[in-house]
C-alpha cells in the first residue's frame, strides 16, 4: 500500500483511488507554481505541465468505473471518465500552442500554465459532481481561474497596448457578469436546498417523483438553468462572451471556448438528468427557447462581424444553440446527440482557434477578414485546414459537423419538435453567410498584405490532426455515436426517461 493510500485509508475515505487524475493535476499545478516561483525556466514549466497532463491522462484508464467517493459528494462513473479524457486531452493540445504565442507576443508568464491546470481541475470536479456542493466548487474554481487568464495579456510593447487594454476590459466584464452568474447559481442552490433539504442530485430528483414539485424547487431550477446558461453563453445571457473571447489571448480563448464550454455542457446534462428527470418537460421547454434565441442572435450578429475571432465568438454562441437544442428533446436520442455534438465541437473549435493563434503570430495580423485575403496562396496548408473547420461548423458532409447536426435533427423530429428543427435549418443557412465568407476571402481574393508566417511544427501538427479527425469522424462517426448512446443510456437508466 502506498503512503498516500495509507494516509487515506487512515482517514477512512472509501474509493479514494478514483481521485488519482485530479490529484495528479493538482500536484502538477503546484509543482509548476513553484517552478515559476523559483526558476522561471520556460522549457521546464512546459515540460512539467505536459508530463503531468500525460500522466493524469493515462491514470484515467486505470480507474475502475462507477465509484462514488468523498462520502457521496463525488462520482467517477464512465460519464465523468469519458469527459475527463477529452478535457485533459484538449487542454494538452491547447497548451501546445501556448509557448510560441506568448513568447511571440512577449507576454509569457508561468502563471498561464498553473492557472490552466487549476481550471482543468475545476472542470474535472464539475463533470464528477453528483452534489450541488461539489458542483459549485468545481464551477467556481474554473470560473475564477479563467477570469484571471483572460486578463493576462500584459505587455510592455507599445504596439500591443490595444490588446492589453482589451484583455483587461474583457476580464473585468467577464468577472462582473460571471460573478452575477455565480450569485444566481448560489440563489438557485439555496432555493433547492430550502425546498428539498438536500444537496444530493438523486435526493432532489426523488422530491419530484411522487409529488408535484414545490414552488421553491421550480424557482431553484429556473435560476439554476439561467446561471448555467450564462456560463455556457446562451442568449440572452451571452453578453460577456464576444468581449471575453476577443480580449483574451487567443490560446486562452481556445481554452475557454472549447474546454470550459464542454465541461459546462457535461455538467448541465448531468445535473438536469440526475437531479430533475421528472420535470424534464419544464426544463426542455426552457432550453428550447434558449436554444432558438442563441441560434438566432448568435448567427445574425456573427454575420455582421469583420473580425474573425469575434465572428467565431458569436458563432460559438450559435453552437451553444445547436447543442442545447438537443435538450429540447429529453429522450435518450436527444442526450446522445447532445453528447456527440459537444465532443465533436472540441475538434472543430480547437482547430479553428489554433489556426487563429498560429496566424496571429505574424507581424501585423489583426484577425480582420481582410487579413485572410489570399491566404490559400500564401499558406495553402493553413487555409485548407481552416476550410475544413469552417465547413464542419457549417455542417456540410463529409465533415463531422454534419453528423452533429444530423443527430440533433433526429432527436428533434423524433420528439415532434418541428419548429426548432426548422429554426435550426434556417439558422444554419444564415451561418453559411459568414463561414463561406472566410473560405471565399481565403481562396478567391488576391492577398492584400504580405505576412511572414512562422507556423511551427507543433501548430502544424495540431491543425493537421484536428482537420483529419474532423474528416474521419465525419465519415466514420460510429465509435463516438456508440459512446454517446451508451453514456446517455447510462445516465437515464435509473430515472426512467
Amino acid at each position: 500500500m502506498s503512503i498516500i493510500q495509507q494516509i487515506v485509508s487512515a482517514i477512512g475515505i472509501p474509493n479514494f483511488s478514483v481521485l488519482w487524475p485530479e490529484i495528479i493535476v493538482l500536484i502538477t499545478a503546484f509543482i509548476v507554481f513553484f517552478e515559476e516561483l523559483l526558476t522561471k525556466n520556460r522549457t521546464l514549466i512546459t515540460a512539467t505541465t505536459v508530463v503531468g497532463l500525460l500522466v493524469a491522462f493515462v491514470s484515467i484508464f486505470f480507474i475502475k468505473q462507477g465509484d462514488i467517493t468523498l462520502y457521496g459528494l463525488y462520482i467517477v462513473d464512465s460519464y465523468a471518465l469519458y469527459f475527463k479524457v477529452f478535457l485533459i486531452a484538449s487542454t494538452l493540445i491547447i497548451i501546445g500552442t501556448y509557448r510560441t504565442y506568448f513568447e511571440n507576443k512577449e507576454i509569457y508568464f508561468g502563471e498561464f500554465y498553473y492557472l490552466t491546470l487549476f481550471a482543468l481541475l475545476g472542470m474535472m470536479i464539475m463533470v464528477s459532481s453528483i452534489n450541488l456542493f461539489t458542483f459549485y466548487v468545481g464551477l467556481e474554481l474554473t470560473s475564477i481561474t479563467t477570469y484571471i487568464l483572460v486578463g493576462m495579456f500584459i505587455t510592455k510593447r507599445k504596439e500591443l497596448k490595444d490588446y492589453d487594454y482589451k484583455s483587461k476590459e474583457a476580464a473585468f466584464k467577464y468577472l462582473i457578469i460571471g460573478g452575477a452568474g455565480t450569485a444566481i447559481i448560489s440563489y438557485a442552490i439555496a432555493f433547492l436546498y430550502g425546498a428539498s433539504g438536500t444537496f444530493d442530485f438523486i435526493e432532489i430528483s426523488k422530491m419530484t417523483f411522487s409529488e408535484e414539485p414545490s414552488l421553491g424547487l421550480i424557482i431553484g431550477l429556473v435560476l439554476l438553468i439561467i446561471g448555467l446558461a450564462l456560463k455556457a453563453a446562451a442568449v440572452p445571457f451571452h453578453f460577456w462572451t464576444p468581449d471575453a473571447y476577443e480580449g483574451a489571448p487567443t490560446p486562452i480563448t481556445n481554452f475557454m471556448a472549447v474546454v470550459v464550454k464542454v465541461a459546462t455542457f457535461a455538467l448541465i446534462l448531468r445535473v438536469l438528468i440526475q437531479a430533475f428527470p421528472y420535470v424534464s418537460e419544464d426544463w426542455s421547454y426552457l432550453w428550447a427557447i434558449l436554444a432558438a434565441l442563441s441560434m438566432i442572435v448568435g448567427n445574425f450578429i456573427a454575420l455582421r462581424q469583420k473580425n474573425v475571432k469575434r465572428m467565431l465568438a458569436y458563432s460559438s454562441i450559435a453552437h451553444t444553440g445547436y447543442i442545447t437544442a438537443a435538450l429540447a428533446a429529453p429522450t435518450g436520442m436527444g442526450f446522445a446527440a447532445f453528447l456527440f455534438y459537444i465532443v465533436i465541437y472540441i475538434f472543430m473549435a480547437i482547430g479553428a482557434f489554433a489556426a487563429l493563434s498560429a496566424l496571429e503570430k505574424s507581424e501585423g495580423w489583426t484577425n480582420h477578414i481582410d487579413d485572410f485575403k489570399g491566404l490559400a496562396k500564401n499558406n495553402p496548408f493553413v487555409a485548407l485546414t481552416i476550410l475544413v473547420f469552417m465547413f464542419s461548423m457549417l455542417g456540410i458532409p463529409p465533415t463531422v459537423g454534419f453528423m452533429g447536426k444530423l443527430g440533433v435533427f433526429f432527436a428533434l423530429i423524433g420528439s415532434d419538435i418541428w419548429w426548432l428543427a426548422v429554426v435550426l435549418v434556417i439558422m444554419s443557412i444564415i451561418s453559411a453567410g459568414y463561414y463561406l465568407r472566410v473560405v471565399s476571402v481565403m481562396y478567391m481574393y488576391e492577398p492584400l498584405k504580405k505576412f511572414d508566417f512562422n507556423i511551427n511544427f507543433t501548430e502544424k501538427t495540431i491543425l493537421f490532426v484536428m482537420a483529419i479527425i474532423v474528416l474521419i469522424l465525419g465519415i466514420y462517426p460510429t465509435l463516438f455515436w456508440s459512446f454517446s448512446t451508451n453514456l446517455s443510456t447510462m445516465l437515464i437508466a435509473h430515472v426512467g426517461m
Binding site: P397, F402, L406, F409, I413, I429
Partner: protein, 502 residues
C-alpha cells in the same frame, strides 16, 4: 414493393468513388505537373468502369445490380449501400463521361492547376455517389459534399462576379437540401414509430405508407430540395449567375451532371415515396414545368451573353423532364430519362462551344461575335450538330427524349402538352439565333473581327477529343434510341409501379 438484388463480385461502384478521392489526396502532395495526366487517367478508368457496367447491366428484369451494403452507424440504422438500376447507371455513366471530357478540355488551364484538378476529382466522387447511393444519409452526404468543390470551382476559377455567383449557388442549394434532410428524417422517424424499423435505406422507406397529409408535407420538403437543384422556375435564379461565372468545365459539369440530380431526385424519391401527393401535385408540377419551358425560353431569346442563353435553355429543357416525370406514365418517364441524358450531352457540348468561343474572342457577348463559320469549319460543324440536337431535330438525341416526354404528357393532359409543344418553337428560335449570331452574319460584322477569325486556330486536339464523343453519342441516341429505351424501360415501369400497377 419488393426488390431483388444482385451483389457485385467486384465492388466497381465503390472503386469508382474511391479512385478520384484517392487521386485527389495524392495530388495534394505531388507537383502540379502531375495534375493533368493523373486526373485524365483516373477519370478514364472511372469511365471505362461505368461503360463496362452499362454493357454488363441486365435489363431484362428489374434488379438492383452491382449492389454493395456495409453497416455504418448501426445505432441509427444507417448503412453504406450502393448499387444501380438503369436510371442510376445511365446517370453514373453520364457523370463519368462528362468528367472525362471536362478533364480533357481542361488541359490548358493555367491558374492554380493542382487545386483545380483536386477540386474536380473530389466533385466527381461526390457526383457519382449521389446517383448510386441507396441509403438516404449517404445520398445526402454526397449531395452536400458536392457543394464544397463546386463552390470553389466557381469562386476561384470563374469570371469577374464569381464570388457572388458561388455564394448564391451555395446558399440556394444548401437552403433546399436542408429541408430535404428534414423531410427524409421525418420519413425515417415515422417509419420507426409505425413499423418499428430503424433504417435509412431507400428500400425500407419506399414501403412506408404515409397518411395523405404527411405525404403532402414530406413531398413539399423534398421537392424544395430537388426543385432548386433542377432548377425549376421560380427557383432557377442561381443558375444563370453560376453558369455565366463558372469556368467552362464547371459549366459543363453544372449542366450535364448537377442539374440531373434534381430531376433524378424527383424520379427516384418523390414518385415512389409519395404516390398520392405526386398525383395531387400534377397540375402544380405541370404548370411550373410549362412556365419553365416557355418563360425561360423567352428569357433565352432576350439574352446577349452566350452562356446565359445556354443556361436559360437548360432550365427550359429541364421543364420537359419535369413534364415527363409527372406525366406518371411509361412514355413520359422514358422521355424524361432520355431527355436527361440528351441534355447532358448537348449542354456539355454547347458549354464547350461557348468556352471555345471565349478562348478565341475573349468575349461571351453576341455583339462581339459573328461570321466565324467560314474560318473554323470543324468547330462550326460540331457546334451546329450540338445546337440541332439541343433544339430536338429528329435523328439527334434531343428529339427522342422530348418527343416521348410530350407524348406522355399528352396522355395525361392535352393542354399542357400543347403549350409545351408551342415552346419547342421558341426553343428552336433562341438556339438558331445563338448559332446564327455567332457563326454567320459575316456581312454585318466589323472588319477587325473578321480579321481575327482569319487568324484563328480551329479546334485543338484536346478540344476536339473532348467535343467529338458528345456529338457521336447525340447521333447514336438519335438514330437508334431503342437500345436506350430497352435499357431504361423496366426501370421506368418499376418506378411507376405504384401508378400503373406494374
Amino acid at each position: 414493393m419488393t426488390f431483388e438484388f444482385e451483389a457485385a463480385n467486384i465492388p466497381w461502384i465503390t472503386i469508382s468513388i474511391l479512385i478520384p478521392l484517392i487521386a485527389a489526396g495524392v495530388l495534394f502532395f505531388l507537383d502540379k505537373r502531375f495534375a493533368k495526366p493523373i486526373s485524365i487517367i483516373v477519370s478514364a478508368i472511372v469511365f471505362v468502369i461505368s461503360t463496362y457496367m452499362l454493357f454488363a447491366y441486365d435489363y431484362s428484369s428489374y434488379k438492383i445490380q452491382f449492389y454493395e451494403k456495409y453497416s455504418w452507424i448501426p445505432q441509427f440504422g444507417i448503412s453504406y449501400e450502393v448499387g444501380v438500376d438503369a436510371l442510376s447507371l445511365t446517370m453514373f455513366w453520364l457523370t463519368a463521361l462528362a468528367f472525362l471530357l471536362s478533364f480533357i478540355w481542361s488541359v490548358n488551364i493555367k491558374k492554380r492547376v493542382k487545386e483545380y484538378f483536386i477540386a474536380f476529382l473530389v466533385l466527381e466522387a461526390a457526383c457519382i455517389g449521389v446517383f448510386v447511393s441507396w441509403d438516404m444519409v449517404w445520398f445526402y452526404i454526397f449531395w452536400e459534399a458536392m457543394l464544397i468543390p463546386m463552390f470553389l470551382i466557381i469562386g476561384v476559377w470563374g469570371y469577374a462576379e464569381r464570388i457572388y455567383a458561388a455564394t448564391k449557388f451555395f446558399i440556394y442549394t444548401f437552403f433546399g437540401s436542408l429541408f430535404l434532410l428534414i423531410g427524409v428524417i421525418g420519413m425515417y422517424v415515422y417509419q420507426y414509430f409505425h413499423y418499428g424499423k430503424l433504417s435509412t435505406s431507400y428500400f425500407d422507406l419506399v414501403n412506408t405508407n404515409l397518411p395523405f397529409g404527411l405525404e403532402i408535407v414530406f413531398f413539399l420538403l423534398l421537392a424544395l430540395g430537388f426543385a432548386i437543384k433542377v432548377p425549376m422556375w421560380p427557383f432557377h435564379t442561381w443558375l444563370p449567375a453560376a453558369h455565366v461565372q463558372a469556368p467552362t468545365a464547371g459549366s459543363v459539369i453544372l449542366a450535364a451532371v448537377l442539374l440531373k440530380m434534381g430531376t433524378y431526385g424527383f424520379v427516384r424519391f418523390s414518385l415512389p415515396w409519395f404516390p398520392e401527393a405526386s398525383k395531387y401535385f400534377i397540375p402544380v408540377m405541370f404548370t411550373l414545368g410549362v412556365i419553365a419551358i416557355i418563360y425561360t425560353a423567352a428569357m433565352a431569346l432576350a439574352q446577349q451573353h452566350i452562356k446565359r442563353i445556354i443556361a436559360y435553355s437548360s432550365v427550359s429543357h429541364m421543364g420537359f423532364v419535369t413534364l415527363g416525370t409527372f406525366a406518371l406514365n411509361v412514355e413520359g418517364m422514358n422521355g424524361a430519362i432520355i431527355t436527361m441524358i440528351s441534355h447532358g450531352l448537348t449542354s456539355a457540348a454547347l458549354f464547350f462551344a461557348a468556352g471555345w468561343i471565349y478562348e478565341r474572342s475573349h468575349s461571351y457577348m453576341l455583339k462581339d461575335l459573328g461570321g466565324m463559320a467560314k474560318y473554323v469549319p470543324v468547330f462550326a460543324t460540331l457546334f451546329m450538330i450540338s445546337a440541332m440536337a439541343s433544339v430536338g431535330l429528329p435523328g439527334l438525341s434531343g428529339f427522342v427524349g422530348e418527343f416521348l416526354a410530350l407524348l406522355g404528357t399528352f396522355k395525361t393532359n392535352v393542354w399542357f402538352a400543347a403549350l409545351a409543344g408551342i415552346a419547342l418553337v421558341v426553343g428552336a428560335g433562341y438556339t438558331l439565333r445563338l448559332y446564327h449570331k455567332t457563326m454567320f452574319m459575316e456581312e454585318l460584322v466589323d472588319k477587325n473581327i473578321i480579321h481575327k477569325w482569319k487568324n484563328t486556330h480551329d479546334m485543338t486536339t484536346s478540344e476536339f477529343l473532348a467535343f467529338i464523343p458528345l456529338v457521336i453519342l447525340m447521333f447514336v441516341i438519335g438514330i437508334y434510341p431503342k437500345w436506350w429505351i430497352d435499357l431504361i424501360n423496366t426501370t421506368s415501369i418499376s418506378i411507376l409501379s405504384k401508378f400503373i400497377g406494374g
